[in-house]
């Protein structure tokens, strides 16, 4: 197990690319903030699990993937979906239960996906996506495509048998699977220290015989580079790889959770490490990027979301007949 410590040099990237990364971080943050508002306001149905504070994990990993690669997400999947290229509109429509949503309103917040964009419906069973991803990677290997399967899951999922069984088989068959553990220190309200003795999740990989690495999950460039390296290994038959991305959830576990179980000092320490603010500072060290550029991106995101929300609120709901469709192929 190794840890990426030094952050990559921002000047090494093409301006458009790096600004696009920034916009994606902001898009995820603002998307989540709008959704939270709509939810608390009561106009958006269902329940939500959000990823404010974790935007760099999804963004950094998915920036290392091709469209043909597939990701498997969780109940906390909005950021993964946006990072993999799902549209703001199809997602908001889904959240409002509209028939124009990416899952026709049948999936909802916990099951976002779009097969065309390389994301199967997210799995809300903790750990349940890990064997799926291993199986997807098995299919890619058998079909000799160069695709890889990426599975996002949390620190809490590591205790599930599905993790153990899934990563072991990915390892013994050298499958092109990238396992991404977003370690935000908590499984729901339970601190990681209560549920495992060695809380360095990436250490687990070695016991199954493959490579694990722990990365600062709030440094989008560090995540990107670690992901690029892991993706290359997977494509060349060197998979699987386990990436542990250290991050923190700035918002409730779900719905109206006030997070009283997160110690104040811990929260504050992590708020100082906000992935977006940190990346903004990094970007501003470049001659060719001004604060104004970032502000412009922010407002373009705001405008995009404002329009999309208005459209989504008017989007058509399924008709009762749709209840019985899409059960069998």
């Amino acid at each position: 197990m190794s840890t990426t410590t030094t952050s990559p040099d921002p000047s090494a990237y093409e301006r458009g690319f790096i600004l696009d990364l920034y916009r994606r971080l902001v898009l995820i943050r603002e998307f989540e903030e709008r959704v939270k508002f709509l939810f608390l306001e009561g106009t958006m149905p269902g329940t939500i699990h959000q990823c404010q504070g974790q935007e760099a994990t999804a963004t950094g990993v998915c920036a290392a993937l091709d469209l043909e690669d597939f990701i498997v997400s969780t109940f906390r999947g909005h950021g993964h979906a946006l990072a993999k290229g799902l549209g703001v509109q199809e997602m908001l429509d889904e959240l409002f239960g509209a028939s124009t949503g990416c899952c026709k309103g049948k999936g909802g917040s916990m099951h976002m996906g779009n097969m065309e964009k390389g994301m199967i419906p997210a799995i809300a069973i903790v750990g349940g996506g890990i064997p799926l991803a291993a199986g997807m990677a098995l299919a890619f290997k058998m079909k000799k495509t160069r695709q890889i399967a990426v599975c996002f899951f949390g620190d809490g999922a590591v205790a599930e048998g599905a993790f153990h069984e899934g990563v072991n088989m990915a390892s013994i068959w050298n499958l092109p699977a990238l396992f991404v553990c977003e370690n935000n220190l908590y499984g729901a309200s339970t601190h990681i220290g209560k549920v495992m003795k060695n809380t360095r999740v990436s250490d687990r990989a070695a016991s199954y015989g493959f490579r694990g690495e722990t990365v600062d999950g709030n440094d989008v460039l560090a995540v990107l580079e670690a992901a690029r390296k892991a993706v290359a290994e997977c494509r060349n038959g060197g998979g699987p790889v386990l990436l542990e991305l250290l991050t923190y959830r700035r918002t409730g576990h779900s719905r109206r959770d006030p997070c009283h179980y997160q110690p104040k000092d811990e929260r504050e320490a992590w708020f100082m490490r906000d992935p977006i603010e940190r990346f903004a500072e990094v970007l501003l060290t470049r001659k060719d990027i001004e604060r104004a550029d970032l502000d412009a991106l922010k407002s373009s995101v705001d405008d995009e979301l404002t329009v999309a929300i208005e459209v989504a609120q008017q989007a058509p709901q399924p008709s009762a007949a749709d209840l019985l469709t899409d059960v069998f192929a």
Partner: protein, 337 residues
């Protein structure tokens, strides 16, 4: 007497049983975290302060901690294992069905498994994997008792009976009936509060209960559907139809004595179930009725249930999925012919 909701009543029942018997303990995910929620639906909120050593927060490992609860029960403890959503029982079903339920039989009656399991079910805007009705998968499993609590009074009395029972007991609760308040309130929740006696009491694990007397038709249901049956009976009364409403409550075993007595009176039955019709608990009840009191039936048993589809997310479809008062009334009309 005090009025309580199901969550509160369960909380008191657990606390009272833990106080009464040192071998009782709770095990589950996020059930006892300071600053947490007392489980997914607040049932165990604050109990960790009263019983710091007997409220055990687990990793997310349903197969593991249900199996541990079985092992602890075999060694003389009385665990109450809590799953956050009934849908996750599949992960623990090997331990529940292959181990807990068969252990006594396999041992030739030499060991026992005094285990209580609690699981919330019901479609509540969360999508397909946090919504399904799980009763069907456990009704009739030999060696396992299955109950469903529709109101606070039963919840408290049944939980106490379950804790004192020497066999594995699986208790189903409904997310829309907990009476969770404030931030935890569920949209579409129904009031299932009851007057709770001050004194200790139990409710048996093997009896159905008549909640409304009637002569024309018997309405059978449990959990949320029982409440809808009461509403349907009320409006049917307006049309001059007298419906008897029974909370089946005990799903395994099923109380055919109480159900049969009603059918002897009414001759007609509608069974209402949340969850796909095919292979539901209603199927067993319908078949059992034919066997136990088929001679009293004046019309074939009618089942009102959800269609054979997973639970959809969007509210318009979820509401169409869940049987409601109009569909129950339509079922009654059809059985009245």
């Amino acid at each position: 007497m005090k009025i309580q909701g199901i969550a509160e009543a369960l909380r008191d029942a657990i606390a009272e049983e833990m106080k009464r018997d040192e071998t009782v303990f709770c095990i589950g995910e996020d059930i006892a975290v300071p600053g947490g929620w007392g489980g997914a639906f607040t049932v165990t909120l604050g109990l960790e302060q009263k019983f710091p050593d007997r409220m055990i927060d687990t990793p997310i490992a349903e197969l593991g901690f249900f199996g541990m609860a079985v092992g602890a029960a075999m060694m003389g403890m009385r665990p109450i294992a809590d799953v956050q959503y009934g849908d996750f029982l599949f992960l623990a079903s090997d331990q529940i069905i292959n181990n807990a339920s068969k252990m006594r039989y396999m041992s030739g009656g030499t060991c026992k498994v005094p285990l209580v399991m609690r699981a919330p079910i019901g479609a509540t805007g969360r999508g397909s994997q946090h919504a399904q009705s799980m009763e069907r998968y456990f009704t009739g499993v030999p060696g396992l008792k299955v109950v469903a609590v529709s109101n606070a009074y039963d919840a408290k009395g049944i939980l106490k009976s379950a804790v004192r029972d020497d066999n594995p007991v699986l208790i189903f609760e409904h997310k829309l009936l907990y009476g969770s308040k404030g931030a935890r309130r569920e949209p579409g929740a129904v009031d299932a509060g009851s007057e709770i006696p001050e004194e200790d009491y139990v409710v048996p694990l093997d009896t159905a209960k008549v909640y409304r007397e009637g002569t024309d038709v018997t309405l059978l249901g449990w959990l949320l559907m029982h409440h809808f049956n009461l509403l349907a009976a009320e409006s049917l009364a307006g049309e001059g139809v007298s419906a008897e409403v029974i909370d089946v409550r005990s799903l395994s075993p099923i109380d055919y004595a109480t159900i049969g007595a009603s059918i002897k009176k009414t001759g007609r039955v509608v069974i209402v179930e949340e969850g796909p019709k095919t292979g539901g608990v209603s199927a067993e009840i319908a078949a059992g009725i034919m066997e136990h009191c088929g001679e009293f039936l004046q019309a074939p048993v009618v089942r009102v249930a959800s269609p054979d589809v997973p639970v959809p997310f969007t509210p318009v479809l979820e509401n169409a999925y869940r049987p409601d008062v109009p569909r129950i009334i339509a079922g009654v009309r059809s059985v009245l012919g």
